[in-house]
């Protein structure tokens, strides 16, 4: 803040007219940049930050700290009219709220190794081996810039039993040590029922009526015991809300959607020989994904400028239509369409008083569709939550932590073999949907407490006592962060905007919204037309995805 004036010399941009200007390099923005450039659009892709990825970036510990705590830019100026355009200053919201960051370890290790960490902002997040994200990566050509590794194990947290492997395949059911024989039989039979339903050659199908009823009712109808129900709903279908709690449940999964989730999960297991489980994670972190799409876009001619804040919108004085943006460098650039990442908002029209300006237009611009909140937490430890397992996912089903827990909590532990942290350290991500920040933090903290030892700040004795008492020592947290993000949906308008990271573990919904947005912007264009790229060397496996073994 000491040198607000031009910390970097802004480069002039030439040309100044584009088909599309995109602000922010989050996943959705990058995918649209790649998709639009693939169909020949001229694009200017800007990011005010010095790094790629926006809400989906992977950052060093220091960068992450300053990013999470960055203040919102004040609505400094109101709209003003200069020359032919109405100039309307943009407000940039901070990427999150209620951030709490704690450097719990007094040693200098973390500070010295800050750069060796690459921590995801939108975590926990992974890909199912068989989900559409993988298909999109291959189709778009972004896969050639990425390398993945399988998540070794998937766990579900049980109220009395701690972590149990998710019995997610025939082999896993066979090996499972916690299910009774009868439960093994019931679960496998249900998997077979689903397979049979999905197999076109089979006559026996789940009835249409059953497909429309809630999945939880269908599971009850199949006489599955609560334990199996919980595994299917929360650990495999990854449902967020307690399906047995009619009041709190905001999203009741239908049988047909449940079946689709199961199908995706089971076809993910064993799709790639090197990935034992259902999930994949990109080496160097999730921030690699938007970068890969940006590289695709750049190959097709998209122009990239980082560290380039956009300060104002330029609107036509007469009809109020969007014309372009004014950059921090003072330069005005113009385009037919504009996409803003979800951190940008437009000041309420009440503060704007340009005469004769169609006020309702700005009103629309300033309204965002907010669908609740997601609480995220990050912990760094020196040991794994499960001995001998480096990378794993954990689901805490509703009511597994305390009776009032109405949402499930997802967690992901990533170790140093994914090149996101120094050897011997682990990053754990947690997330859950919530109604307010307090609830969200309570949920995450109890999930963390179930797996980890959170030292009371400044009191090192408490750590020791925990260690000596408990039989299996829980990993001690060296560093932690909590933050809350509003769930902002994508929007297609005069000025379109992309969604914030959602509460899901994978990217399917986000990419679905992105594809939809692209379709609205370019109704006559195909989303990544199938074009073979001869310049791409294809030394990957059959699936076009590179997996590190």
């Amino acid at each position: 803040m000491s040198e607000p004036q031009e910390p970097f010399p802004y480069p002039p941009i030439d040309p100044v007219n584009f088909d599309l200007i995109i602000v922010g390099t989050g996943l959705s923005e990058s995918v649209i940049a790649a998709a639009a450039s693939a169909v020949g659009k001229t694009i200017l892709h800007l990011d005010p930050n010095s790094f790629y990825g926006s809400h989906f970036a992977s950052l060093s510990l220091h960068d992450l700290t300053s990013y999470l705590t960055s203040p919102s830019s004040a609505p400094a100026a109101a709209a003003s009219t200069d020359s032919d355009d109405v100039v309307c200053d943009l407000i940039r919201q901070p990427p999150c709220s209620d951030a709490e960051i704690a450097w719990l370890d007094e040693s200098v290790f973390l500070r010295e190794n800050s750069r060796k960490f690459s921590v995801d902002l939108g975590g926990p997040r992974a890909l199912f081996s068989a989900d559409r994200t993988v298909d999109l990566l291959v189709k778009s050509g972004a896969a050639q810039y990425l390398e993945f590794k399988g998540i070794d194990e998937s766990f579900v947290y049980e109220a009395n039993g701690g972590l149990a492997n998710v019995p997610d395949s025939r082999g896993a059911i066979f090996r499972d040590k916690k299910l009774s024989l009868r439960e093994k039989n019931q679960l496998m039979r249900f998997f077979k029922l689903v397979q049979q339903h999905l197999d076109d050659a089979q006559e026996e199908k789940i009835s249409d009526e059953d497909l429309e009823i809630p999945f939880v009712s269908f599971l009850e109808k199949m006489k599955l015991p609560p334990k199996i129900k919980s595994i299917l709903l929360y650990a495999i279908a990854m449902v967020d809300y307690d399906q047995d709690n009619n009041e709190a449940c905001k999203d009741l999964l239908k049988t047909k959607d449940g079946i689709d989730c199961l199908a995706q999960y089971s076809s993910s297991v064993g799709r790639f020989p090197n990935a034992p489980g259902a999930l994949l994670y990109p080496i160097y972190g999730e921030g690699e994904l938007p970068q890969a799409f940006c590289r695709r876009a750049a190959v097709k001619g998209c122009i990239y400028v980082l560290r380039m804040p956009v300060i104002s919108l330029l609107m036509d004085k007469v009809n109020g239509l969007y014309k372009g943006v004014r950059l921090a460098s003072g330069q005005d650039v113009y385009s037919h369409q504009l996409i803003l990442d979800p951190s940008f908002t437009i000041p309420s029209p009440l503060y704007l008083s340009p005469r004769d300006f169609p006020r309702e237009r700005l009103q629309i611009l300033s309204q965002r569709d907010i669908k609740g909140m997601v609480a995220r937490g990050i912990c760094i430890t020196r040991s794994s939550i499960k001995p001998d397992v480096s990378n794993c996912s954990v689901v805490f089903p509703p009511r597994s932590l305390y009776p009032e827990q109405v949402t499930s909590i997802k967690a992901l532990q990533i170790g140093s073999n994914l090149a996101v942290c120094p050897a011997g350290t682990f990053i754990l991500y947690f997330s859950t949907l919530c109604n307010d920040a307090d609830e969200g933090k309570k949920l995450l903290k109890s999930a963390m407490n179930a797996l980890l030892t959170l030292p009371v700040s400044g009191n090192s004795e408490s750590i020791l006592s925990v260690q000596s008492d408990s039989e299996d020592i829980k990993p001690i947290v060296l560093w932690s962060a909590f933050y809350i993000q509003k769930l902002i949906m994508s929007k297609f308008e005069l000025i379109s905007s992309t969604p914030t990271p959602d509460g899901n573990l994978n990217y399917n919904d986000l990419l679905g919204a992105t594809e939809k947005l692209f379709g609205q912007m370019y109704p006559n264009e195909e989303f990544f037309p199938k074009a073979t790229s001869p310049e791409d060397p294809t030394d990957e496996d059959d699936n076009g995805l590179t997996l590190d073994s």
Binding site: G171, F174, R175
Partner: protein, 691 residues
């Protein structure tokens, strides 16, 4: 590797395979020329290499390679290491072409067994192949070979099977290897594998996970069956029953009629040869029954005895052994009691076919009493004719003292097994009832039936009860409907269980025992066991029927009478209205020296043009017996009757007096006249007296 549908050949593939065939033909021709000329030059070897790389199935080429190796080794200054190394390399590339090639795997074994090559590489090779196809039994066979060669411990190999099964439990080969390894470890009581009970419990738990996870996958069940067997079985051979049975009284009738001193059993038609058989019935085939392993002490014993195995082939192991006491030329005193004591296994030598020694030495003692009786000689022996009509049989309300000949399950001979066996089987039954309540599957039902049978067998040793028979029978009836393809097997099992139930006690036998009353007979009629109309498809429980002299098995579905040869006292047998399709199926009759009366009417003899049982039978009569062509030709002479040679084999050694063969496709006039010649003793043929 598995479950992939075969793709139809495309046109371009057809052209390619024609070209390949052409190439192969020329290689083959060159190779054969080299082989013929015993050329083992480098060029010649290269030809065989090429041939085997294209077609590893060419066994002749592998043999040629072996000859070539021997040739090269006989040269001056050979380098065995490099010679064998070339062979290993060739095998490896052949296996890459087809890793199910018997010839290639065998060649590799041959090379390694020569001992000039390092075996370190073999595990690496195997791991590659077994990763590509974890079920390939060639690789597993070879693995056992290499493990033995490397002296890899059974424990390590067992761990490997665990890994493979953990990855995918649908793997017969891996489960099988596990059973092989565990057998070894249990046998030598290796550390951690003793006591057997603990190990078996763990294995049951292991396999339950597979069975319950996917009951339709049969590999786990297959291992489970092995485990049940390990739980129930006793290694050492045991005596199951005998005739005469322990503590029985045998009454002999001395016939002082016109025919001189005939000797027969009370209540019986036996036996004008004047011999008394002693039959020993073991639970598994044994060898080494002779006068030193089995000693008989009795006044009745006057000469050296020769024990004979009752076996359909010429092997000297058998379930049943028989010896005949010759009483014909002895001066037996009427009303005197003769004691006979038999001691079995007091000296070593009785060994089962898998090398186990006879367990607990046992003793059988019985009494023989001689009575005199005078029977009115009938007008020529042929006047007496056996009829099987119901009116000739009289129900028995209760056995009389003199019927002590009737014995049932002699379970006092079998030492009781441990409680653990019973408990383990009971636990298994509970588990599978639970599974079946969740999921109805045929193999689950079959296993339950087998477990219940095993339980009955175990508990009958304690208290003689077979409380689960009804449920077991019902399970097999359900299975016949549920799984029609295997209904014959279920029917056989059903027959065995029914017979076991019927023969288990004297009381259960009673309803099936009748007195046969012949109008001409002066003394009480003898006991006939009537097992008609029971849908029997297979004979069993013969060990409980050694006493039977007259047996009616008519109106069943029998195709074979395997095991019947043990019934050495049998003189009248009714097999009419069954499903015998060939004379081969009647093979056991050849060993029934007392058989006089046989009814095989209304079967399917001669109905099938090709006798398939000849290939199925464990004892193909044809190959084991020296065929008396001379006699056959003299008998058949004018008639073109070579098609009767099977019948000749069966009847040629019997001395039947009555035979009924009507209602069979084979029974035409030619055949009848042939029979009359073959059986000079015959008095009645098809209810007609032979003049």
């Amino acid at each position: 590797m598995h479950g992939r549908p075969r793709k139809a050949l495309q046109e371009e593939d057809a052209a390619a395979s024609a070209a390949k065939a052409e190439k192969l033909r020329s290689l083959q021709a060159q190779f054969l020329a080299n082989h013929h000329n015993r050329t083992y030059s480098k060029e010649a070897l290269d030809v065989s290499t090429k041939l085997l790389e294209v077609n590893p199935e060419c066994y002749t080429a592998w043999n040629y390679r072996k000859l070539a190796v021997q040739h090269l080794l006989s040269n001056s200054d050979p380098d065995p290491h490099s010679i064998f190394h070339d062979e290993l390399k060739l095998v490896e590339s052949a296996l890459r072409k087809n890793f199910k090639s018997y010839g290639a795997w065998h060649h590799r074994k041959w090379v390694l067994s020569k001992g000039h090559s390092s075996i370190d590489n073999e595990m690496r090779l195997l791991n590659g192949f077994q990763k590509a196809d974890p079920r390939n039994f060639h690789a597993w066979n070879y693995r056992r070979f290499v493990a033995e060669l490397m002296k890899r411990s059974d424990e390590d190999e067992l761990k490997y099977t665990e890994e493979v099964i953990g990855a995918n439990f649908s793997n017969y080969s891996a489960w099988h290897n596990r059973s092989v390894l565990l057998s070894n470890l249990l046998k030598r009581k290796a550390e951690g594998y003793f006591p057997k009970e603990k190990v078996l419990e763990e294995e049951f738990e292991h396999v339950h996970n597979a069975i319950f996870t996917d009951p339709d996958d049969q590999s786990g069940w297959f291992y489970h069956l092995w485990l049940i067997d390990q739980t129930v079985k006793t290694d050492a051979p045991l005596l199951v029953s005998s005739w005469p049975s322990h503590r029985s009284n045998i009454t002999l009738i001395m016939d002082n009629g016109l025919h001189g001193c005939g000797l027969s059993l009370l209540n019986g038609t036996l036996s004008d040869t004047g011999t008394l058989p002693i039959i020993l019935y073991f639970n598994q085939a044994v060898e080494g029954i002779n006068t030193s392993t089995v000693t008989i002490e009795s006044e009745l014993l006057k000469e050296e005895l020769v024990w004979k195995p009752l076996s359909m082939n010429k092997s000297n192991t058998a379930h049943v052994w028989v010896v005949y006491l010759n009483l014909g030329n002895m001066e037996l005193q009427p009303s005197k009691t003769y004691y006979v004591e038999i001691n079995i296994g007091h000296s070593k030598g009785i060994v089962s076919s898998n090398g186990n020694h006879y367990g607990a030495p046992s003793q059988i003692s019985f009494k023989v009493v001689v009575q005199t009786a005078y029977t009115e000689p009938t007008e020529g022996h042929g006047g007496k004719r056996t009829t099987w009509k119901d009116t000739n049989f009289q129900k028995i309300d209760h056995f009389q003292e003199s019927d002590s000949i009737v014995t049932a399950d002699q379970n006092d001979l079998i030492p009781t097994t441990s409680n653990w066996c019973t408990e383990e089987i009971v636990e298994e039954i509970t588990k599978f009832r639970d599974l079946l309540s969740e999921y109805d599957c045929k193999i689950g039902k079959l296993t339950l039936a087998r477990l219940l049978t095993a339980l009955d067998m175990l508990s009958s040793q304690h208290d003689g009860r077979k409380s689960n028979t009804e449920e077991v029978l019902q399970l097999y009836i359900d299975l016949m409907k549920l799984d029609p393809t295997h209904s014959l097997y279920y029917k056989d099992e059903h027959s065995l269980i029914s017979l076991n139930w019927i023969t288990s006690t004297r009381d259960s036998l009673l309803p099936y025992c009748h007195y046969y009353e012949d109008a001409t007979e002066t003394i009480t009629g003898y006991v006939c066991l009537r097992l008609q109309n029971l849908s029997l498809s297979r004979m069993g429980s013969i060990e409980n029927l050694l006493w039977v002299q007259m047996l009616d098995l008519s109106h069943n579905e029998l195709r074979s009478i395997e095991g019947l040869e043990a019934m050495q006292l049998l003189s009248c047998l009714n097999l009419s209205h069954n499903k015998f399709g060939s004379f081969t199926a009647l093979g056991p009759l050849r060993l029934l020296k007392s058989l006089k009366v046989l009814n095989i009417s209304y079967n399917e003899l001669g109905f099938h043009s090709i006798d398939t049982t000849r290939y199925l039978s464990s004892s193909p009569v044809v190959h084991t017996e020296e065929f008396a062509w001379d006699r056959f030709e003299i008998l058949t002479g004018s008639i073109n009757a070579t098609k009767f040679w099977e019948a000749f084999l069966i009847f040629g050694s019997l001395a039947l007096t009555e035979l009924n063969i009507t209602g069979n496709a084979v029974a035409d006039e030619n055949f009848r006249s042939f029979l009359v010649k073959v059986l000079p003793t015959l008095k009645w043929l098809d209810d007609e007296e032979i003049s």
